[in-house]
């Protein structure tokens, strides 16, 4: 429907909210469909629907709650496909529980600042492991061959590093907010 000229200020504010919360949205989608290669697609679809429905969003209301609700809906459609393809997914009951935003998510900027801060605290080898795990096209198997370690031992090390990172990020965020 096309009826009114958009207020540029409102549009700008909406775009700001949308860009600010991209990481939150992505993280939320990852929490509902972990391990799926389709996260970016679902995020893209969610963004598209948010944009289409921008007129329905009232500035000053809870953008996170509104956008999570739409993302939840998009994840629902992904789940139907995933079920057909017999992929491993969480139960509907758990997804409903997880879809409740619960505590307020940190703003993207804070999360990324905390993450950078914590990554900087890692040792060189620990950072290398994280880089290998998260850089597209790289694999732990390649690193295992290069470093003459087993992929299994690297996986265990990676689990520990990520645990440490998570605690560091949480502490960093809580100290920022206090």
């Amino acid at each position: 429907m096309f009826s009114k000229r958009e207020d540029p200020e409102k549009l700008q504010a909406f775009v700001k909210l949308l860009t600010e919360h991209q990481s939150n949205l992505r993280g939320f989608i990852v929490s509902l469909m972990p391990g799926s290669p389709d996260v970016s697609d679902v995020l893209q679809e969610t963004n598209a629907v948010l944009w289409q429905k921008r007129h329905r969003f009232k500035l000053g209301t809870n953008f996170i709650a509104w956008s999570f609700q739409i993302a939840r809906y998009e994840v629902h459609h992904y789940r139907e496909r995933a079920q057909r393809d017999q992929k491993l997914i969480f139960s509907e009951q758990l997804v409903e529980l997880l879809a409740d935003p619960g505590s307020v998510s940190p703003a993207d900027e804070s999360l990324h600042a905390a993450l950078d801060h914590c990554l900087a605290k890692l040792g060189e080898k620990q950072r290398e492991l994280i880089v290998e795990r998260y850089t597209p096209g790289h694999s732990l198997e390649e690193l295992a061959t290069r470093s003459e370690r087993t992929a299994g031992s690297l996986r265990i090390a990676l689990l520990r590093i990520r645990e440490a990172l998570r605690h560091c990020v949480e502490n960093s965020l809580s100290s920022q907010s206090s």
Partner: protein, 756 residues
């Protein structure tokens, strides 16, 4: 499970490493514990942030594998207006336009590719094959060209120019898969000897040469042209085959060399530019039997000096109603068999219905032996195998009229009925259209339709007739029979009044004619809305709002958009059409002449027309599949005679190469609307002369898909009687299959200077 175990399991879940049992266990833990869910949310946020952070390191040189098609779809839906929708999508667009500039220097052992500006292509990877790197084609990467041209530089001095529609994939550094498309291969040094192209039907092994292949989707034969040197044609299983020396142009059937064919020219370099001369996604138009009112901002067009034309205000001076696509009803005698007739020795004589030529009578009955009650009333018509009930109708067959016979058909299990339309010249034995109806179980099949569009050859003054018969099984029953007619939607250019040429330079442009005229009630929605001004105009600012008074919906068109076309003194308006999922709007195709039953539909993922997982049925009209550029597609109905759609798209330019592609749809076998694939002819013509044609009788792709097919034509040699400046017409025709369909979308016509 201990806290640390749960957290370790969560991380492994994020990595996709858990077994089904472990997922179920984690699911239970998370469901039971709010604290665990908090940890999970936090972990997922961090995991996602890490993915984003390190993916960002790669995006400049590592193109995200979002297909171009997807981006185009998004653009089509006017979603990506701002760059807020993910850096990846934006980067794909940039990468498309800067492809040549940003391309890294090719390594001699890598395969690189470049595309001509305007090429629409998709890259896809094998699962687990990582991200696309720049313009490097990696092993397993599939390059699908919807429309346009790509040049591949392969290792060992092998070069290929591939023209879409095409799909290629690199198997290894000496082997390329060509699933479909036209491609020229040049192997310039001894090191390239042994380079192999694998088509779906054979392997072409280079023995030091340049050669070209034309592999068409849905066809078993492949065209091979050897220009220099020689090639060997091996079986698809690798068995050694015959050698073909240059010069040679042949048709290949598997590894067998068949008939010689005319040599044709292939592009040997990337065109500098592809000029789009026609583009159709079947997304625009008006609905039949709807009321519209149009509002136009004053500044939407200006004259050439910038003076704004007057608009058309909201108070509705331009209102009209479109013609109906609902068939006019033709009176049939005794259409529900309620006049039961007289019981005779060999059957029942039924008023209005004649027995077949074998002298056997038809039956009207309320017999319930097979559990088949009449669909309506007390009786239905019952016909035994080999027998017919026929009715001549006092209606003269008219060229361009579509006849739609609708009826309910009762069939015991394994029975088969046939219904026919016939002309009085040849009678029921040689029908002009027919349809068989079958059922695996005993049932009434409701609202079965036989659709037929008459052409000039049928319009001899003869009358129309209807026959109902049983081919096999115990019997066939018929009830609720109706016959409707729809006039052929013709485009008439003289509906716009002659323009007064007395233009006044000093004052703003004035509207001197509107099509449709205000308050008209029979505007054919196959035509665009046209406004004629008294002087040449150009696009200004503001918008046009097309208000559907029947539904209350509005479509807003911004000045300068593709939906508004300025040509001299005229402005053509093609509003966006909106249909619900699974909805069809038959009878008209905006901008096209047709001589068959044609229209548009919005395929639905729940099995109405198509059932494809990429159709997003949660959003109204939001679904697209494969080669679709928007939510709507066109569909043509086929009959015993071929019919199609046609429009003039340009005039013939000298020494120009024209490329036409169209995406052809193949419905799911279980679709609620399935019928037989009718085949297609994609043609360029000028007047009565066919300039180039591609014919396909088999589905070009699997069910649930749209596959691009193409036709090419060069104007460097013109057929007799054709000269540059003559009209260039695009025509798409169905095969002659009773009650078949041809679904299509995404038509593109580009031209380029024919340089080789």
């Amino acid at each position: 499970m201990s806290q640390s175990n749960i957290e370790a399991r969560m991380l492994r879940m994020l990595d996709g490493e858990l077994s089904a049992d472990e997922v179920a266990e984690l699911d239970r833990e998370l469901t039971a514990s709010p604290e665990a869910r908090e940890v999970w949310r936090s972990m997922a946020q961090m995991h996602s942030a890490l993915e984003t952070r390190f993916a960002a390191n790669q995006t400049i040189c590592g193109l995200s594998p979002i297909p171009i098609k997807r981006v185009l779809e998004q653009q089509q839906r006017k979603i990506i207006r701002l760059s807020v929708f993910g850096a990846a999508a934006a980067l794909v667009i940039i990468a498309t336009t800067l492809w040549l500039v940003m391309a890294p220097e090719p390594s001699p052992r890598l395969t690189t590719f470049h595309t001509a500006p305007g090429t629409e292509f998709t890259l896809s990877h094998l699962p687990g094959n990582g991200k696309q790197m720049g313009n490097i084609l990696r092993e397993g990467t599939r390059l699908t060209i919807g429309h346009g041209v790509a040049e591949l530089q392969l290792p060992y001095d092998v070069r290929a120019v591939v023209e879409g529609p095409a799909t290629v994939a690199l198997q290894d550094d000496r082997t390329l898969l060509l699933d479909r498309g036209r491609a020229l291969f040049e192997i310039t040094t001894e090191s390239g000897k042994g380079f192999t192209v694998i088509t779906p039907h054979q392997r072409i092994v280079d023995l030091g040469t340049s050669f070209a292949l034309n592999v068409e989707a849905g066809k078993k034969s492949v065209d091979l042209h050897v220009f220099t040197g020689r090639v060997r044609i091996d079986g698809i299983d690798g068995t050694r085959g015959q050698i073909l020396k240059a010069p040679g142009s042949v048709q290949l059937h598997q590894a067998r060399i068949g008939d010689s064919i005319e040599p044709i020219r292939f592009l040997s370099k990337l065109p500098e530019k592809l000029k789009t001369i026609f583009k159709e996604d079947f997304e625009g138009g008006l609905l039949a039997d709807h009321s519209y009112s149009i509002r136009i901002d004053p500044s939407v067009v200006t004259d050439l000096t910038g003076q704004s034309a007057d608009g058309i205000p909201e108070n509705g001076t331009w209102k009209f109603h479109t013609a109906s696509a609902i068939p006019d009803s033709v009176a049939l005698r005794n259409p529900g068999f309620e006049e039961g007739g007289v019981l005779l020795e060999r059957g029942r004589a039924i008023p209005g219905w004649h027995p077949g030529s074998d002298g056997a009578y038809g039956w009207g009955t309320d017999d319930e032996r097979y559990g088949l009650q009449p669909a309506e009333g007390r009786f239905f018509g019952r016909v035994f195998p080999g027998r017919w009930l026929s009715q001549p109708i006092m209606t003269e067959i008219k060229a361009g009229t579509t006849y739609i016979l609708t009826l309910d058909c009762a069939l015991p299990a394994e029975a088969m009925a046939e219904v026919r339309l016939w002309g009085s010249d040849l009678g029921p034995e040689e029908p002009i259209a027919r349809k068989t109806i079958r059922s695996n179980r005993t049932a009434w099949l409701k609202n079965r339709q036989l659709v037929f569009t008459a052409s000039e050859e049928h319009a001899t003054g003869q009358q129309l007739g209807v026959s109902l018969g049983c081919k096999t099984g115990k019997f066939a029953g018929f009830d609720r029979i109706s016959l409707g007619t729809v006039p052929h939607p013709r485009i008439s250019s003289n509906q716009v009044r002659e323009i007064s040429k007395s233009s006044a330079l000093e004052r703003p442009p004035r509207v001197i004619a509107l099509l449709p005229e205000p308050e008209s009630a029979d505007f054919l929605p196959s035509e665009p809305l046209v406004i004629v001004f008294d002087k040449p105009i150009r696009s200004g600012m503001g918008r046009i709002v097309v208000h559907d008074d029947t539904t209350g919906k509005e479509s807003g068109l911004i000045a300068g958009s593709a939906s508004l076309k300025v040509d001299g003194e005229t402005l053509k308006i093609l509003p966006k059409l909106s249909l619900n999922d699974g909805e069809a709007a038959m009878g008209y195709l905006s901008g096209w002449q047709s001589n068959t039953w044609a229209g548009r539909f919005n395929p639905s993922g729940d099995g109405n027309w198509y059932r494809h997982e990429k159709l997003n049925d949660h959003a109204r009209s939001g679904g697209t599949i494969d080669a679709m550029r928007g939510p709507l597609m066109a569909t043509l109905h086929s009959g015993l005679t071929a019919g199609g759609i046609r429009r003039t798209i340009s005039t013939i330019a000298p020494d120009t190469r024209y490329s036409v592609t169209a995406a052809i749809g193949v419905r799911d076998r279980d679709s609620n609307e399935s019928s037989e694939f009718a085949g297609y002819s994609l043609r360029l013509r000028s007047g009565d002369t066919i300039l180039a044609e591609t014919v396909g009788t088999s589905p070009p792709g699997p069910p649930n898909s749209l596959t691009e097919v193409g036709v090419f034509w060069e104007s460097h040699t013109l057929p007799e009687g054709i000269t540059p400046g003559d009209p260039l017409t695009l025509e798409i025709v169905t095969g002659s299959v009773p009650n078949g369909y041809l679904d299509l979308d995404s038509i593109r016509v580009t031209s380029t200077v024919a340089g080789y």
